[in-house]
């Protein structure tokens, strides 16, 4: 009885989140249009770079790979951010009406996961037209994973900084720093770069695309990052929303 009610609540929360997103056709249009635009633009613009000694592959391929990872991560990241910020009041009311906070969180995360899977599928299809993807299944799994990872990050930022301007600023700076460091376009040898979310997924994705063996250590490190971030995000969401949100 209780399990059935929880499932129904989850479904209601999930459907709300999806309806909120698709209500504006521009959101759907950008979700579909941005992956091809970004991936081809990245590859094309990187083709003007010389092949510098620290680059792991030809600049154009490096650009397409970086663009794919970027778009797969950050579209769900922005969705996660706005899911939490724009739904704060509705979530508070639902919680008052008996919805458990964890069910609301799970419904939001499910919507972000759906966006991640869609973006990952579309992104890998576009990348396949630019370069050969030797191991497509691991590649698409990494893309979906980074989508969820950034979705969680967006949700964390939206929970802690529940205003759109501040939240967007933090997400943009974090995302662009992460992308610039992970992309391999600039030379870095600092261990600090390993603390960024895309570092290990980028290694795994690069290996999946070029067909080299995928390092177990990279997979474990990326997974650990995901687990820790999930726990932190859920903890922050429950703590902040339980005391009435943004201090309104």
């Amino acid at each position: 009885m209780s399990a059935g009610r929880d499932r129904r609540r989850m479904r209601v929360g999930f459907e709300m989140a999806i309806r909120e997103f698709v209500r504006e056709p521009i959101n759907v249009a950008l979700l579909v249009a941005l992956p091809p635009v970004m991936i081809t633009s990245y590859g094309s613009m990187m083709s003007a770079f010389p092949e510098l000694s620290y680059m792991s592959t030809a600049p154009e391929t490096l650009g397409s790979i970086a663009g794919t990872l970027f778009v797969a991560a950050f579209l769900p990241g922005v969705i996660g951010l706005f899911q939490v910020i724009s739904a704060r009041r509705a979530d508070d009311r639902l919680a008052l009406a008996g919805f458990p906070r964890s069910a609301l969180f799970a419904a939001r995360l499910l919507a972000v996961t759906l966006a991640s899977v869609l973006t990952a599928t579309l992104s890998i299809s576009v990348l396949s037209t630019q370069t050969a993807v030797e191991a497509p299944i691991p590649a698409v799994l990494v893309l979906a994973f980074v989508g969820v990872l950034y979705g969680l990050l967006g949700m964390s930022i939206g929970t802690v900084l529940p205003r759109e301007l501040e939240g967007s600023l933090v997400l943009i700076f974090l995302a662009d720093m992460d992308e610039a460091l992970a992309s391999g376009i600039v030379d870095t040898d600092s261990p600090l770069t390993k603390l960024f979310p895309l570092h290990y997924p980028h290694e795994v994705f690069q290996a999946a695309v070029d067909g080299s063996p995928i390092a177990l250590g990279d997979v474990l490190a990326a997974s650990l990052y995901g687990v820790v971030l999930s726990v932190v995000t859920l903890g922050a969401y429950e703590a902040v929303t339980a005391r009435g949100g943004e201090g309104r």
């Binding site: 504006e24 521009i26 959101n27 950008l30 941005l34 970004m38 633009s41 990245y42 094309s44 613009m45 990187m46 083709s47 003007a48 770079f49 010389p50 510098l52 650009g63 970027f70 778009v71 950050f74 579209l75 922005v78 969705i79 951010l81 706005f82 900084l161 205003r163 759109e164 301007l165 501040e166 967007s168 600023l169 933090v170 997400l171 943009i172 700076f173 995302a175 662009d176 720093m177 992308e179 610039a180 460091l181 376009i185 600039v186 030379d187 870095t188 040898d189 600092s190 600090l192 770069t193």
Partner: protein, 244 residues
């Protein structure tokens, strides 16, 4: 003029009322630039400086000089976007009580310019910690010009798209433009690069950072681009205001 001053002060007070936002406007650009200068090794790379040609420069200096304007562009773009989004209802009410369009427009542009100025000073200051530009004043000017251009583009985006779509565009735009298309590490200029907003200001920034010479050929087109973006934003703003 007093109407414009009042609306400007209202806008500034709204920012000042949010200490977290003020802290982020200072912290994020500084952290962005300083972090990159810390993690990039001091290795010489061949760099294309517009007024000079190819020069051998330290990678960390080049990255510091590119990241300063890029950080300002992010702040300008997002500030422009949310300025238009958040002021929507307030502006409509201001016209109802008799405020004229040029005053509101001037006030909003003033708030945006002030935000960009803060971000520009912080970014250029952070750049100077790692590498002191040859012509610091011109470098600051070029940095602010990039920020204003993206501020104007952010305003146009904010008037035409919703917040979510706007953040997508402003997350990807400056990165593609400044980090890739205008990168001084490239062998050749990408065919699209001269049409992008960051082109002329970035050429100006690179000249100011690494040489003592400034080419007017990079200054005037940049200002003309800003004027064009400003006109488009003004027309879009007045149309929205009239549409209610």
């Amino acid at each position: 003029m007093s109407e414009a001053k009042t609306v400007f002060e209202m806008g500034v007070r709204e920012y000042a009322r949010t200490p977290v936002l003020l802290a982020l406007l200072v912290f994020l650009p500084a952290y962005f630039v300083l972090f990159f200068t810390r993690v990039i090794p001091d290795r010489p790379v061949p760099v294309d400086v517009p007024v000079q040609g190819t020069m051998g420069l330290e990678m960390s200096s080049v990255v510091a000089v590119v990241m300063g304007p890029m950080a300002t562009a992010f702040v300008g773009g997002i500030a422009g976007l949310f300025l238009m989004q958040s002021a929507r209802t307030v502006d409509a009410r201001l016209t109802v009580v008799g405020a004229d369009l040029p005053s509101i427009l001037l006030a909003r542009a003033g708030v945006l310019a002030l935000t960009v100025a803060v971000a520009g000073v912080v970014s250029a200051g952070a750049t100077s910690v790692a590498y002191v530009p040859e012509r610091p004043g011109w470098f600051l000017f070029a940095t602010a010009l990039v920020g204003l251009l993206y501020g104007g583009i952010g305003a146009v985006v904010g008037l035409s798209l919703n917040r979510l779509a706007g953040v997508y565009v402003l997350m990807f735009g400056p990165l593609l433009d400044i980090f890739l298309a205008q990168s001084p590490l490239t062998d050749e200029t990408h065919a699209l690069a001269p049409y992008l907003p960051g082109h002329y200001p970035m050429r100006l920034a690179l000249d100011a950072a690494f040489t003592a010479r400034i080419a007017p050929a990079n200054l005037w087109p940049g200002l003309a681009y800003l004027l064009a973006v400003g006109l488009v934003a003004s027309v879009a703003f007045s149309r929205r205001l009239h549409a209610g």
